[in-house]
């Protein structure tokens, strides 16, 4: 079943189409890799799908029924979407524990005034932080974590959302092998739970290993799509990466 589709998405920056009439379909319960050379519009696409950037044209269709031509960042939670960022964006001057608690407590501004985190929230945060091996660091400020730990905390924050669609923007970049294994296990674990993962990634080995489907972007357009083994052999894909 198609859980997410885009139809003729356009995003312009100073007259240049960073995403150019992009129409793609994402299958539920699969890991879809988005690849392409630098500047091909992968992160822009993630930003459009998460409302961080405003669509200039086109629409996003969720579950075949919900058509969206304007997405605001705070709405994506209610659509069952969550994300990580290419450049890690944590709440730096807050503790590791608070980085998780803040996204699982009351969302209504007025009600949240009268809410303190409960044992339920604490246990949930503990469970998630243990999964990424950061529970011992719960009282440290996020700014004091190492690069790899910061990436893991960001993934943990997304996991806490219990979303249906996970947009992961280069979650493996710059990680040591053992941390890559942790992230890879998390991503595949989500798939086993029938969650949908959209993964922007540069590591072709990893794409082959964990993705069910690959979408190749170049200059904001769809260049190729299909199963990783087939797509990565295509001449135009190799040329886009390596040049003529």
């Amino acid at each position: 079943m198609k859980i997410l589709e885009t139809k003729n998405l356009i995003k312009r920056f100073n007259g240049v189409n960073a995403v150019d009439r992009l129409s793609i379909k994402i299958e539920k319960g699969q890991i879809t890799g988005i690849i392409g050379p630098n500047g091909s519009g992968k992160t822009t696409l993630i930003n459009l799908l998460s409302g961080v950037l405003v669509l200039d044209d086109g629409e996003v269709i969720l579950n075949k029924t919900k058509k969206l031509s304007r997405i605001l960042p705070y709405q994506i939670f209610s659509y069952g979407i969550t994300r990580t960022f290419q450049n890690v964006r944590l709440f730096e001057q807050m503790t590791v524990l608070d980085n998780i608690l803040v996204v699982i407590t009351e969302r209504n501004a007025f009600s949240s005034l009268f809410e303190k985190h409960t044992e339920y929230h604490y246990k949930l945060a503990k469970e998630i932080l243990q999964k990424v091996g950061l529970w011992e660091k719960k009282n440290q400020l996020a700014v004091n974590l190492s690069y790899g730990q910061r990436k893991l905390l960001e993934i943990a924050r997304a996991l806490a959302m219990k979303a249906e669609i996970y947009l992961f923007d280069e979650p493996f970049a710059g990680l040591f092998p053992e941390m890559r294994k942790v992230v890879s296990d998390i991503v595949q674990g989500l798939k086993r739970k029938n969650k949908t993962i959209i993964l922007v990634e540069h590591d072709m080995g990893l794409i082959r290993e964990i993705c069910d489907y690959v979408i190749v972007m170049n200059e904001g357009k769809l260049l190729a799509e299909g199963k990783p083994a087939d797509v990565l052999k295509k001449r135009e894909v190799i040329e886009a990466y390596l040049g003529n």
Binding site: S50, G51, V52, L72, P73, Y74, I76, F77, S78, T82, R83, F85, R89, L90, F91, E92, Q93, M94, D98, L101, V102, V103, T105, E106, R107, A109, F110, S112, L113, F114, E115, K116, H117, R157, M161
Partner: protein, 288 residues
């Protein structure tokens, strides 16, 4: 002793102002330079009602709060369109407008002449004419504001405020409509500032526009930066330091003809040194 009580009352009023501004600047990361405007709205509401209508202090306080809620709601909506430095400049503009109203709406505010003859509060037969009794009232308000602030920052709401300060887009994608959070804390902060204004007007028994200029907003900002942002004790220490320091410098013994100027210079130098060697303030948990 009377002098010390006077200083203590001023300290309490500035600590209340600092604590309320800390909610917006320290916890939410919005560099607002307009607190004197709301402080002034509270002060003028009390001054006008007490001198022209014969209403009681607490009635004027409540009306001042309602006016402040309405004004801060509208200003907050407009300011929500701005980010970063532009936000600060927007707040600065609002302070300038309010000051101009105090100065020029002569029928209501008597302009630069100010409003004299404001009476002291009376409640349940207690008359606050005595400065010591007024000090107790000011301290009660200070303690109340401290606990309200603590309640807010320890709530889930307070945690979201900090997240907005750290990265507004990031917290938004997790389902938080940050506009509401910013608006609510801006209104709460403004209401507390108006309360401090009511106290001030009733204590000094006179208001004029000069007390609510931009420089007053900068002074309140200095209190919280010096004391320490995003810490509940920060504004208290900052207010203590900035109300007492000029007074202590009176006793240094400069020659009479340059004493006032020297006090200003030393006051300024101490502030610069503190910012150089302790930019997070005395007990701050966050740097701008």
């Amino acid at each position: 002793m009377a002098y010390l009580i006077h200083l203590a009352i001023l300290f309490a009023i500035y600590a209340i102002l600092g604590m309320s501004l800390n909610l917006v600047v320290g916890y939410t990361g919005l560099l607002s330079i307009t607190h004197a405007a709301f402080y002034g709205i509270g002060a003028y509401t009390t001054a006008i009602l007490l001198t022209k209508t014969g209403a009681g202090f607490f009635t004027s306080l409540i009306l001042g709060i309602f006016i402040t809620i309405a004004v801060s709601f509208l200003v907050g909506i407009v300011l929500s369109k701005f980010k970063g430095d532009y936000y600060s400049i927007g707040t600065l503009g609002f302070n300038t407008i309010v000051f101009a109203i105090f100065l020029n709406w002569q029928n209501l505010t008597r302009g630069p002449l100010g409003i004299p003859g404001i009476s002291r509060p009376k409640l349940f037969g207690i008359n606050f004419d005595n400065n010591f009794v007024f000090l107790i009232l000011a301290l009660v308000f200070l303690i109340l504001v401290y606990f309200v602030s603590r309640f807010i920052v320890n709530s889930s709401f307070g945690r979201v405020l900090k997240a907005i300060r750290e990265d507004e887009t990031a917290i938004a994608v997790f389902g938080y409509n940050t506009l509401y959070f910013k608006l609510i804390i801006f209104i709460i902060s403004a209401v507390i500032a108006a309360t401090a204004g009511s106290l001030f007007a009733s204590y000094i028994t006179f208001v004029d526009p000069s007390g609510f200029q931009l420089m007053e907003s900068v002074f309140i900002l200095a209190i919280i930066i010096l004391g320490g942002l995003a810490n509940l004790r920060g504004p208290i220490l900052g207010a203590l330091f900035l109300t007492l320091l000029p007074e202590i410098l009176r006793f240094v013994g400069f020659p009479a003809d340059i004493a006032a100027q020297m006090r200003q210079v030393i006051y300024g130098v101490i502030l610069v040194l503190l910012m150089l060697y302790r930019p997070q303030g005395l007990v701050g948990e966050y740097k701008l």
